[in-house]
Amino acid sequence: MLSIKNLHANVANNEILKGLNLEINAGEVHAIMGPNGSGKSTLSHIIAGKSGYTVTKGTANFNGESILDLSPEERANSGIFLAFQYPVEIPGVNNIYMLREALNSKKRSSGEKELSAAEFLKFVKQKVKTLGLKNSLLNRPVNDGFSGGEKKRNEIFQMSVLEPSLAILDETDSGLDIDALKIVSDGVNLLRKDDRAFIIVTHYQRLLDYIVPDFVHVLHDGKIVKSGDKNLAKELEVKGYDWLKSERKD
């Protein structure tokens, strides 16, 4: 599904990614862990198409096609979704209005019929119910005045509406208390499917107690330095990241 090979990327002439390789297949959940500044968020942003990054070398293909020249909206409409670490507050724009625009954009791009306001309302209300959220979420302005937990829940809700084939969760656990963490994780687990892959970017192993990954990768200094299964995350929790740094120097 997603195939990244030898990816090098700069931000303002500083090389952040230095030859990153990652293969993700449908149905898999990959956790990407690593210390601050290792390039985790850069990787998420580059996959989603945020401006400000320059790819200098390497490839990133999604379902066999290169995504590096695509606009963020083209990537989204091809099935990529980024749950933001810091969801943006957009006063004056209703959640439901924004989501209908988004879903219909996707439908337009794939030649499907757009949903009318009534059809869409029915569709999202079902999603709200499935995730155990409140209907009031729909008519509030996007993230405006939301608590940290509400913002992250809204990201998961948007994901459930847009039904991506690849979902990237960029430090979704940051700023969440344990209850909010559970709600968000339950949401993600509900959305796990055979034809949908996840990239969970996180600092801590805590989130991975709730969303159990198939693979864990450690990102350090712009490269994946170690990969393993869920036990690698536990090992990191005990030992920290320093042993990897020293291992690499050896």
């Binding site: 198409g49 401006s51 963020p72 004056g92 996707k106 948007q158 847009l162």
Partner: protein, 420 residues
């Protein structure tokens, strides 16, 4: 001698004595006041000198009133009681109004009742030059009285149709008295039929008496080649409430001077405004709120979106003198620039000499937020549409509760952008 002043002297109309004495007074004033220029603080940022050069004519509309009215296109979707005016003269009025309010033309009033005199004689002269010019050049005007205890369902919609003559100048004048214990929605709209380098120089004076509640929407929807200078004064008595919304679309120069006097305990005003500029159009709002009594309250929110080489100006004055206590006043102005050459000037002018005031203010000038744009695009929304969503979000707070507009198409038209 500037054309505009030269012209003012030549105008004469067969009007009643009370208005003629106003006109004589105005003529004297014009002689003693220099023509405004942009070196004066009050006219800063505005190329006001331009007007001096233009040889304005008086309005000689040969088009029939019915044809004029038929060319008007409304932005308002709701039912309203309509009055159509051309240079101060009624050209069409809905019959439904007769049973609701009293309307008189200046030319039909040999004498002015005490109540109206107080509305007329107490104008807060924000700019004496254009005020006097309006008085001097009056052809006619409208007096409107909302009787005591009225509660009017549909808005009273006063539509001033601009002249279709080239470089003409019209001087509408409106005096409204809202008698005590009334509730009314007023819409004052200025609509131009074509591009004619014309100037509309208008004055509106509204007196809101005890316990009355007024919603006043002011809409300037004119061609980018025309000029609009508007002065509006509100005089509020005890427990009177005002909601004012000012919308400025188009106009080579649209200048609105709006003042509110909160004269008695319990009087309150909430001022909102929106200006949209494209091309080289200029929208300039100067507002002034005078807290003349204790226990008065004001809030103000103006927003502007400027595209191309447009210019938005906002100057908001709030005055609380030393002896006045228990005051609450807030003021905010935000500007969104859509192009590199667009500009905005914002200036809060808080003259607060009392200690017993709760006051907050803020002013911003910025561009569309790139994080927000990326957020929407990452949800699959195309760039242009994402921009439009953010623009709509920016003005939502001003439009949602106030105007009853047909749709948002005027936003894209006024800004010269695409979107839906």
């Amino acid at each position: 001698m500037p054309c505009l002043i030269e012209h003012a002297k030549k105008t004469s109309a067969s009007l009643p004595n009370w208005i003629q004495s106003e006109q004589q007074l105005a003529e004297k004033r014009i002689k003693s006041i220099p023509f405004p220029n942009s070196k004066q603080e009050y006219w800063k940022y505005l190329p006001i000198e331009k007007l001096r050069e233009i040889n304005f004519n008086s309005v000689k509309d040969t088009i029939s009133p019915d044809l004029l009215v038929s060319r008007y296109q409304s932005l308002i979707k709701n039912k309203s009681h309509k009055i159509f005016l051309s240079n101060g003269k009624i050209i069409k009025i809905d019959e439904s109004l007769n049973s609701i309010v009293k309307t008189y033309q200046f030319s039909d009033c040999d004498e002015l009742s005490e109540k109206f005199i107080s509305a007329l004689k107490k104008p807060r002269l924000l700019d004496p030059f254009f005020y006097s010019l309006n008085s001097r050049m009056l052809v006619d005007g409208l007096l409107l009285e909302v009787p005591e205890g009225s509660s009017i369902d549909h808005p009273i919609h006063i539509i001033n149709l601009g002249s279709s003559n080239t470089a003409s100048i019209s001087s509408p004048r409106l005096i409204i008295r809202v008698a005590p214990n009334s509730k009314v929605k007023l819409i004052e709209e200025f609509f131009d039929l074509n591009s004619s380098d014309s100037l509309t120089n208008t004055v509106t004076q509204i007196k809101i008496e005890d316990n009355s509640n007024v919603n006043h929407d002011r809409i300037v929807n004119i061609n980018p080649d025309n000029y609009h200078f508007g002065q509006i004064t509100f005089d509020l008595c005890e427990n009177a409430h005002l909601h004012s919304n000012s919308l400025a679309l188009g106009g080579k120069i649209t200048r609105v001077d709006l003042s509110v006097d909160l004269n008695k305990k319990g009087s309150e005003c909430d001022l909102k405004g929106l200006y949209l500029c494209k091309g080289e159009t200029i929208a300039d709002h100067h507002t002034a709120i005078f807290h003349n009594s204790e226990h008065t309250k004001s809030s103000e929110l103006y927003r502007g979106i400027i595209n191309d080489k447009g210019l938005g100006v906002f100057n908001g004055k709030v005055v609380v003198s030393e002896s006045i206590s228990q005051i609450s006043a807030t003021q905010h102005n935000n500007n969104l620039l859509l192009s590199e050459l667009a500009s905005a000037n914002t200036k809060p002018e808080l003259q607060i000499y009392s200690d017993d005031v709760r006051c907050a203010h803020g002013a911003t000038v910025g561009q569309l937020d790139s994080e927000s744009l990326f957020y929407l695009r990452s949800r699959g929304i195309a760039e242009q549409q994402a921009q439009m969503l953010l623009i709509k979000g920016f003005i939502e707070e001003i439009l949602s509760k106030n105007y009853q507009l047909t749709d948002n198409e005027f936003v894209t038209t006024s800004l010269g952008i695409k979107g839906n």
